[in-house]
């Protein structure tokens, strides 16, 4: 081969071409290798190679014992067990942080949806506010299945890779994988009824659509004034001091600022200070209005989801 090449490539153009062909892949390979080195250095510095050392332990919890329990959809929640003092983030993490991300391994006939985010908590740190979860959280995802997924063999595995940022006084990006095993009937082999009940509890406490409410907002100087009219059967007056509006888009509201809520006859008025980073073309405010527990130890939290059209004054 060598001899043949030498003989064939005696002429300059041939040698030149030969050189280019062999150089390009080496450069590419080198770049790929360097990228790999950079990435792995990163991983060693900022996340543990061993998932067991993570500050957050994850698992998958189905809402029912089998894929075919409900019509076409089963809820599967990512359970995050968070080390004391640390927290992970909501869809809008607030002034800092990063939302948790779930990547599903492809599986024929299964279509995972988006995370349905439970009501978050607020974390205040040196005048900087973030939104997220401490202790533990279940992040439910509706998973649709079609005929194809019913042709599963024994020991089918549904698996996810999740990435999250976990913070205390410092932040660490972590990642982990979790899986669910299914038998040929689509039954989850490690099904735990009590864990599943907790998924149902989470689902029941997800923000509900604000059906029957009328809400409009006006951008006025450095705040948005929202007027909400509840449906007829709503039992007003409310205690506005227990309310907080969490915006989905982190650039619209000033997370650190106190929000003002007051009653005006049958209407409720919210004064929501805007962020310095609000885009000038902002014309909607999507988010959840949360009645936070007033009493210590109370876990009753109710939330309604709004999509509020905004006008300018």
């Amino acid at each position: 081969m060598n001899q043949h090449n030498r003989g064939y490539c005696r002429h300059e153009p041939c040698l030149h071409r030969n050189a280019s062909i062999s150089t390009i892949p080496s450069v590419l390979l080198l770049s790929v290798m360097m990228l790999f080195v950079t990435t792995s250095t990163n991983a060693q510095l900022f996340s543990s190679a061993n998932e067991e050392e993570n500050r957050v332990q994850i698992s998958l919890v189905p809402s029912s014992s089998s894929l075919y329990h409900n019509e076409g959809v089963v809820w599967i929640a990512l359970h995050m067990d968070i080390l004391d003092g640390w927290h992970v983030y909501w869809r809008n993490p607030g002034d800092a942080g990063l939302p948790t991300e779930i990547r599903w391994q492809e599986y024929p006939g299964l279509e995972p949806g988006e995370i349905h985010w439970p009501v978050p908590s607020r974390f205040d740190e040196d005048g900087i506010t973030t939104y997220g979860y401490s202790d533990e959280v279940l992040l439910p995802v509706p998973v649709r299945f079609t005929e194809a997924s019913s042709q599963s063999s024994d020991n089918t595995v549904l698996s996810v890779q999740a990435n999250w940022l976990v913070c205390k006084d410092i932040c660490i990006p972590e990642s982990g994988s979790a899986e669910l095993r299914l038998n040929s009937e689509g039954v989850f082999t490690d099904y735990d009824a009590s864990a599943s009940a907790r998924v149902h509890h989470t689902l029941e406490h997800l923000p509900a659509a604000a059906d029957g409410w009328d809400a409009t907002g006006t951008i006025d100087g450095t705040s948005i004034r929202v007027v909400m009219t509840p449906p007829e059967d709503t039992n007003l007056p409310l205690d506005p001091s227990t309310l907080y509006f969490y915006a989905y888009d982190g650039s619209i509201l000033e997370h650190t600022a106190p929000q003002q809520m007051r009653l005006d006859g049958r209407n409720m008025e919210l004064i929501l200070p805007t962020s310095r980073y609000m885009p000038s073309q902002t014309d909607r405010l999507e988010g959840i209005l949360v009645a936070e527990p007033a009493r210590e130890g109370s876990t009753a939290v109710q939330a309604l989801e709004f999509d509020i059209p905004l006008s300018r004054n």
């Binding site: 002034d95 929000q259 885009p279 009645a291």
Partner: protein, 204 residues
């Protein structure tokens, strides 16, 4: 639905509370940037007014923050610093971490890590009391600001449009700082003057 609404209202009691008024924080685009004087890692003092007539970039820095690590491990930050300081831009990396907090560096440590990272800022400014950080309302690392030659704020916010700690996102991101500097230095108006910053909280 009805149940939810009922619970929503039952959880509430009747009375009205006024929230305290919001104090204005930081400065807006086109406004005069707060004057400051800080000492750099080499012990030299810098006042913003010393650089009147030049573009000044402020980069909030904490080398242990994974968002900052993304921009230094990829070489992105060093490359921006080098390319714009060569064009006459003054680039300050500002450390507002308090002593004992993550990212705080003694002057000699700051000199060493700057060399180790191959960084090219004009200077690394030390703000252990957080005075300058708070004056600018810097909340995250890396929080980026551009001040124009007249001393007015021309850009504030994120370094780019991909909120992540992943090095792979750097080449595919839209870099707001270089975009704004290029427009400004060519005599054009900046299209995106404000973006929501992303990163770790500044450890005041």
């Amino acid at each position: 639905m009805k149940t939810t609404l009922l619970l929503f209202t039952l959880a509430l009691v009747a009375h009205v509370t006024a929230a305290p008024a919001l104090a204005n924080r930081g400065v807006g685009i086109g406004e005069q940037a707060p004057a400051f004087t800080l000492t750099d890692a080499h012990g030299q003092t810098h006042s913003l007014s010393d650089y009147s007539g030049q573009y000044v970039v402020l980069e909030w820095l904490n080398h242990d923050c994974p968002f900052v690590v993304k921009h230094y491990n990829s070489g992105n930050m060093q490359q921006l610093q080098q390319s714009y300081t060569e064009k006459g831009v003054v680039w300050f990396s500002v450390i507002s971490s308090a002593p004992g907090e993550q990212g705080y560096l003694e002057p000699d440590e700051a000199v060493a890590i700057t060399a180790e990272k191959g960084a090219h800022p004009t200077a690394v400014l030390l703000d252990p009391e957080g005075t300058v950080g708070r004056a600018f309302d810097a909340r995250v690392t890396p929080h980026m600001y551009i001040i124009d030659p007249e001393g007015n704020l021309a850009y504030m916010g994120a370094i780019d449009d991909i909120r992540s700690t992943n090095v792979d996102d750097v080449p595919r991101a839209r870099n707001f700082v270089s975009e704004a500097l290029d427009l400004l230095m060519a005599g054009n108006a900046v299209e995106t003057t404000v973006t929501q910053p992303y990163g770790c909280t500044v450890k005041y």
